[in-house]
Amino acid sequence: MSPDTHHETKREPAGNGKPYKVIGTRPIRHDGADKVTGRAIYTSDLQLAGLVHGKILRSPHAHAKIKHIDTSSAEKLPGVFAVVTAKDLPDLRDKVADLGEGRVNLAHLGANVLAHGKALYKGHAVAAVAAINPHVAEEALKLIQVDYEPLPAVTWVLDAMKADAPLLHDDLHTEDMTGQRVSQNPNNASKYLLFEAGDIEQGFQSADLVIEREFKTASVHQGYIEPHVSTAYWNVDGHLTVWTATQGAFTARHQTAELLQIPISQVTVVPCEIGGGFGGKIPVYLEPVAALLSRKSGRPVRMVMSRADVFEGTGPTPGSFVRVKLGAKKDGRIVAAKAWLAYDAGAYPGGMIGPGCMCVFSCYDIPNYKVEGYDVVLNKPKTAAYRAPGATQAAFATEQVVDELAERLKIDPIDLRLKNAAKQGTQRVGWPDYPRIGFIETLEIAKNHPHYKSPLTGKNRGRGVAAGFWFNIGLKSCASAAVNPDGTVTLVEGSTDIGGTRTSIAMQLAETLGIAAEDVHPRVADTDGIGYTDVTGGSRVTFATGMAAYECGLDIRRQMAERAATLWDCEPANVTFDDGTFRCCDHSITFKELAAKLNELGGPVLGRAAVDPAGPTNGFGVSIVDVEVDPDTGKTTVLRYTVFQDAGKAIHPSYVEGQMQGGTAQGIGWALNEEYFYDEQGRMRNASYLDYRMPTALDLPMIEAVIVEVPNPAHPYGVRGVGETPIVAPPAAMANAIYRASGVRMRELPMSPPKVWAAMKEEERRK
């Protein structure tokens, strides 16, 4: 179905011209009381009879052959119930599975969960123990003897691409986008991507100004405060139940079943409340291991990662090298663009290079471009998605070159972006032409905002601007809803709620039924309680699961209209519904009144919907930031930050603002000091919150969030996803502001005080 026909069939009731009653208001979230009183049940809060505790032994080496593992002493320790290694996993060689995000090599996924033959990064899981309590489990880990043969390690993407680099996988070859092998010998680059349009040479020849720059970014972590945690119970009948902190109960079920080679129907995944994810809680780490320990011990097994385990053993975002070349006419029109990107994927292939390539020029309408990208393995944890995965690194490069163009051409940086802004119909890298988007509107609102119009005064201060883009994906969502006799509705949906989405989904059902948000009681179901629903990711939940709730509401309305017709002895087709009231001829009855009569009119009403919407769209954001750079220390202080984003239609504006503010804060952390700090042996040396140093309340100012609403025509209420775009622009905006404050162009993340200070000293010497 094309977006346009979708639009036509789904237009009512949004198109009736009436203002919304629920959408756009700010009700208290349905799970709020539980979360402010400590009553909400997160995975590690779950108490089960006979529960024992699992811990994982991790490789101290960044790269090593595992010659032998002796677990006999650990098994004999009193209080130990089970010990497992990779030997306990089924043989997954040559097995691939479609896990909803493309085909996944199960041998790689399995070896990441428990190292098989080789440890590929410091922190790689090697063995696991279940014991009566976590302390005994830790004692047991110390009794496991592993005979390692350390190998040379590589942790920087360009080093890993060299001909003499240590090889992680003996059988890894470079493939192009068609799956064709393009390398002579095994190497660390798994994928080569190429996107081209127009005539790049002719484009650069026609340019009046060409700027080419190189950029580097360090690995950063998603940093969710809840560590990975899973509890598994393998029952005597062979049924496996997993309670876990996951962004997608169904993908957790699928991955776990595939790794254990058991049918998915034998696994139930119960998504508990989840303490942050940002993309990092999509892959399984603990679930299959807890399951193996439970099968061996006959007990429910809970596994909680330590914070160091989280840093060293779970997905950071790729470290990257990006080269961007832009050519522009004197009037600011960009006529040619070229990018070369190398993103690390961590220890196993399949990182974020695809979206990196597709996002590098996604804000602009450029007639001639060439984008090349490499996916490269090296001795770091396997990367996982992190909020707009791959886009932030690309924007850090492009948005700085755009800023240089603006400066050299003496054009206002927002005007230059307006001149080149992507709009409906713009052809873009590796994706269909844009549908209706709101980038131009967002830029114009930013340009006219008091922040941009206010003068910035004071020494060592500068203002930076940058734009950011991310996709919204659609994908599959299910919802069902039962009408209660008191006129409320119980909503069951499958999207794990990380940031208040059960409320934004419930509000869409309430709007459709003409009832209050508080009259919908939403619940996130486990994998046996609702139909297949894709992950909470891709900025899709309020869009796609919200659409499921809307369709569920239409289904309820249709059934309720039939009941009203029975009541009034009229034709169902003649019953109308408006403003929470059913009407036919002189009759009228409110939704609540009719709900109370359902048992006399044919029994319960249950609505349901399963959607896989066409018409996913795109989110654009703009950042304006004022900073002050201390010339004596290189420390950057954020003075004022305003973030603008097209949300299509903000269902619950407070939580839309929250996404914008939170993503911005993460982007500031990425910009200023977060990084995986590696020593020469390839070991991360700052695997604690204290040393990794995410932003605290004291590091940030208030972050003003300005919601722009250019409705998405492919959603009944105009929703665009908002979750991911906010992290994309901040590092580039900060770099542009630091340049104007200090005179130095920082082309490497993080822009930490020692690096900025050194760059300022270098600049002084050069002058």
């Binding site: 400590g38 006959g298 990380i498 204290l690």
Partner: protein, 167 residues
Amino acid sequence: MTPLTARHSPPMKSHVTSTINGEQVEFLCENRQSLLEVLRDVLQLTGSKEGCNNGNCGACTVLMDGVPVNSCLVLGVEAQDARIVTIEGIARDGRLHPVQRCFLEDAALQCGICTPGFIVAAKALLDRKPDPSEHEIRFELAGNLCRCTGYDKIVRAVQDAAKAMAK
């Protein structure tokens, strides 16, 4: 299923008496167990969260004799004779504390895992300093990490709670 105790003789446990959320509580704990472990695993008060287990994140903040502490850095045996208030003890008589109410009204939480620690720390701040400046709020709450909100709405919720409590 092998009985839990058959294969394991646990270390000696200490008998501890303390006041938790206004009630006198007795419990047994191993000397190596943290107060956080005791609260969560022995007393089933799971509202205090473990984010790092080394005092970096503040998700396990409780009040110990009125002072906010990271309960992962306090031993269970140190709770002897202490007055402990956890997140479960902040709402009284079936009513939310103004800090809790303002967190809800201002949407100052997303995933909610850091929320108990923030609410306990913010209550302690407002008990001691009823009218803090924005800078004081940011300074006093800098030991509590939030990765979702960017702190903006948390700071506003604490400001609004201060106003509500002044009435």
